[in-house]
């Protein structure tokens, strides 16, 4: 028990590690602020493409979505970071992370948007079009708002996933929250900094996780 507290809840070490960890937190927040909007936008693009009139575009969108959902994000990241240099492209850690995350999160958000749009009954399109609205107007004013409301829990839950995903950027030495905490761990030979980082993740994400549960339950009943 004593050893447990020493190894995981050593407050003195946590205090020493705090400045470094907080810098990592700032980097994580910046990363999220970049990646989430990019993913939301990219996802919408993917989803709209998947409904395009041109068959090859539709096909490309669906293949793209499935491909990047099948690929583990860490693999994609390592590929972009360590693999691309062999083709002459040398991205910085943050660029590599941005590219990999954009591709990955767009495909997930895209799939969610797609399901949302599909869940809006055909009657809605009919009603909108029959009052003279163009396809794009029907989409923007009638279908998308309903689609987004239908899949709101999934959108929120996926955003939580994206925030959690930023932790893998530590593998390519991007100094975000987990990287900084792990650095502190290796220097002190003590896992308390990581517990500190975990506490920070919990503080950030627990409310969102509760919210998702509540939203899901309201949709189910």
């Amino acid at each position: 028990m004593e050893a447990l507290l020493q190894q995981f809840f050593n407050l003195a070490i946590m205090e020493r590690a705090l400045p470094l960890v907080l810098m990592g937190l700032r980097q994580t927040i910046v990363l999220c602020l970049v990646v989430v909007p990019l993913g939301l936008a990219g996802g919408l693009g993917f989803a709209l493409l998947s409904r395009s009139r041109s068959r090859p575009l539709r096909w490309a969108a669906v293949v793209g979505i499935d491909f990047f959902r099948a690929m583990p994000p860490l693999v994609l990241l390592i590929f972009v970071y360590s693999g691309l240099p062999f083709a002459g492209i040398r991205p910085s850690p943050i660029t590599a992370v941005a590219i990999a995350f954009f591709l990955n999160t767009s495909s997930y958000y895209g799939e969610i948007y797609r399901a949302g749009i599909e869940s809006v009954g055909a009657g809605q399109w009919d009603a909108a079009r029959s009052t003279g609205l163009k396809g794009s107007q029907a989409l923007v004013y009638v279908v998308l708002p309903q689609a987004i409301r239908n899949v709101l829990p999934d959108l929120v839950s996926n955003t939580v996933e994206v925030v959690k995903l930023t932790s893998i950027a530590s593998v390519v030495a991007l100094p975000e929250l987990l990287y900084s905490a792990d650095m502190a761990r290796s220097v002190t030979f003590n896992s308390s900094p990581i517990v500190l980082a975990a506490a920070i993740y919990l503080a950030m994400l627990w409310p969102a996780v509760r919210l998702v549960s509540r939203l899901e339950r309201r949709i189910a009943t």
Binding site: L4, Q7, A70, M71, A87, K164, S167, L178, L202
Partner: protein, 227 residues
Amino acid sequence: MEAWSRFLDAFFKPELIERYFPAIMKGVVVTIEVAAAVVATGIALGLLLAVARSFRVLPASALIVVFADVFRALPPLVLVLLVYFGLPNVGINLPSFAVLWLVLSLVLAAFAEEIFWAGILSVPKGQWEAARSTGLNFVATLTYVVLPQALRLTVPPITNRTVAITKNTALGTVIGVGEILNQATTAQSFAGNATPLMMGAVAYVILFIPVVALGRFLETRFQWRRA
């Protein structure tokens, strides 16, 4: 054409494909083993916890909720590092494979519990009442009337979540589990060429695209016919 042949050389060099194929295959086996183990224990534990929650014993339910929230809010990599580096210092020595399996199972169990619980809640109260009023006790009602209906609803989200979590087996690289990514990056540093990495990526895609497609198929197949 110069650029194209350079590209092929960097990512698809035939000699390297041949040389490192066995290693990548070994990685595939490890990935499948970990994934299968995680799916089995994760879903079983998740179902167990959801059923336990249905007994509505407040302290137990509260603990389950806390468990589910914590393991859904924390990034898996954080948990992996915590367990891998922390446990040996308190005397528990687990091999990397076990650490990866343990963490991912608990994470899947947390998500699965919430999904199963939502499924159980969505079965109309009238079903409980009808079954109980014929004298079926709580467990029998759960087993024969409620769970069959609840589980059908959970197939799409469970498959989705399972796919997402098994992809996290790639995290095993960080702690030395010999799965695909690990084999690929090791080979890459030996070979000074990105071909093994490309092979690893291809292996993942070949493994997971069918699973993703299966998930999509199950989603459409299990649209429930309401009475």
